[in-house]
């Protein structure tokens, strides 16, 4: 046991000596959360709109004021003719235009329906989609209140409701993703590099010729990164809850335990990568291409898994990050307990067990 601790101390010294890497490893998670939280936004904020009101009655005025008082839109100006709209879009003055048909209020009273045209600048598709759904949401709301007041059934289209993230706060989407990404980076990539380094320098052979057992070498290598990853989890959680008001609706203990499990999965992946690569460059390349890219693109972090082609959906099942994201979102946003995530937890456990067995076998063969 004593020699094992000596080994862990040596690993920590390596980490501390390389203080540049250390700063990156601790600073990056915080920087990323703040970047994603502040800079990369998915919600609407004071979008400039123009209005062409062909009717100018009490209903259209009320809808207009509802739109403008929502806080999502700022009025750029009223149009008088349809041609002006295009000019405003081309000039970049507005991102959305709302057009009311003539005799709007009369139509509603007579036919129980009326038409509004919503035009958005779809050169920014995400923004356009958001603007559209916000606008129609506000109008639907108004229509609903109107029909209650006057006891007449108005035609109401589909109702859109954002569950768990009612305001569609993007930081809620990004925090679990960043957590998966950072843990993958530190646990898998750094472990694979540190073992590959000993291989490259020839010190691994000396270690293997010593009384240390392969398992002790692996555990000793992994221990400091386990600690570092847990510290990062704490940092990310603190920043995202205090600065961005992200909730932790479920049990904190369960959350930490699931993070630890995911770290274990990532660490065993790192060990496997180092077992099959002979230099730091190879280990880094495999980690980057084989782990980071799929984690970012295919785990559901940025693009929903449901929207992917079938083949990629199948592929996403083997990504630990995908299951981790489901677990984290369940605990933090929905506040569900273990009963709802035992399946995902089981999958991660199984992956870890398989990866560890394979990599320890590989490690021994290499001797």
């Amino acid at each position: 046991m004593k020699k094992f601790w000596g080994f862990v101390i040596k690993e920590c010294l390596h980490l501390l000596r390389d203080y540049r890497t250390m700063i990156i490893l601790v600073g990056m998670p915080i920087a990323q959360v703040i970047l994603f939280g502040f800079a990369i936004r998915n919600e609407l904020d004071s979008l400039r709109i123009g209005i062409l009101d062909n009717s100018r009655d009490n209903v259209t005025t009320e809808i207009t004021s509802k739109l403008l008082s929502s806080g999502y839109f700022i009025l750029d100006g009223y149009f008088n003719r349809h041609e002006e709209i295009e000019a405003a879009f081309e000039g970049g003055r507005i991102k959305e235009a709302v057009v009311f048909g003539s005799s709007f209020a009369e139509d509603i009273l007579r036919d129980n329906r009326a038409d509004i045209q919503i035009i958005t600048d779809a050169s920014e598709p995400n923004m356009a989609n958001l603007a559209l759904s916000y606008t129609s949401g506000i109008i639907q709301n108004y229509a609903a209140s109107l029909s209650e007041e006057q006891q007449i059934p108005l035609s109401i289209g589909t109702e859109v409701k954002m569950l768990y993230n009612e305001e569609m706060k993007s930081v809620f989407m990004f925090v679990p993703g960043i957590m998966a990404l950072i843990l993958m980076l530190i646990s898998a990539m750094m472990t694979s590099i540190t073992i590959a380094r000993e291989k490259e320098l020839g010190t691994l052979e000396v270690l293997l010729a010593s009384p240390l057992k392969p398992l002790q070498i692996i555990l000793g290598k992994v221990a400091p990164y386990l600690l570092l990853s847990m510290i990062n989890v704490a940092f990310i959680l603190i920043v995202s809850t205090t600065v961005f008001g992200m909730p932790i609706r479920g049990s904190l203990l369960l959350l930490v335990a699931e993070c630890a499990l995911f770290i274990m999965t990532a660490l065993s992946l790192g060990i496997l990568i180092s077992a099959i690569s002979n230099s730091m460059q190879v280990a880094m390349a495999i980690s980057l291409v084989g782990l980071m890219l799929p984690t970012v693109l295919l785990s559901g972090f940025i693009f929903p898994v449901e929207n992917m082609p079938y083949a990629l959906q199948v592929f996403s099942h083997i990504l630990p990050a995908k299951w981790f994201l489901i677990i984290i979102k369940n605990i933090m946003l929905k506040g569900t307990g273990f009963a709802y995530i035992w399946k995902e937890t089981g999958i991660l456990l199984f992956m870890t067990a398989v990866l560890l067995t394979v990599s320890i076998k590989k490690f021994k063969i290499r001797l």
């Binding site: 080994f7 040596k10 010294l13 010190t203 052979e205 000396v206 010729a209 010593s210």
Partner: protein, 243 residues
Amino acid sequence: MNDLIINTENLTKKFGNFTACDNISFNVKKGEIFGFLGANGAGKTTAIRMLCGLSQPTSGHATIAGYDIYKDTEKIKLNIGYMSQKFSLYEDLTVKENIEFYGGIYRLPSKEIRERSKKLIGELGLESVQNKLIGSLPLGWKQKLAFSVAVFHTQKVVFLDEPTGGVDPVTRRQFWELIYKAADEGISVFVTTHYMDEAEYCGRISMMVDGRIAAMGTPKELKGSFNVGSMYDVFLHLARGTK
């Protein structure tokens, strides 16, 4: 038999169809410097890896310090020192940390590590740099330190795999002085090299050619039997014979 630190009989290692070591038999006595010579790819490293417990022999027997290399690898590992082809200290740790680390993984008590590392640093004249990172030291010092660390925990045997590759002649000379000192203290030294001038320093030599031991004896005996003036000529003679 007791002073035979290394004793091998028909040790063989095959990789598929390729036989890296073919029926190697030799022994090394206590305090002897045994040179293991041969061209690149002659099977030197394979042999040293088997003796250190880094790889399993295909067939044959061997004992190190009385321990069987199939059954007692753990005990063997405690009793041997090993210095690999590549420089085996950690560049980003200090002189002291390196010594303490290697002492620690060989289960030496902390008190003993402290005393012995102090003595060692004194002997090597490294007091002024003991808290400096290894990476900042000149190669010659590093090499000497690496050897001292390899014998730090053992009084039995040390395996050196081409320890002087890429080192200048003066440093090589100093390095061999350390080897002699260790041998005088009763440590057996098993050294592989392809520098023929170093071969002259060894007590006894075995010449490896294509995985077999082509000749074995003291440098004097070998030169006599081939009737040549230097080990270099002995080597050429043997190497040419295989072509």
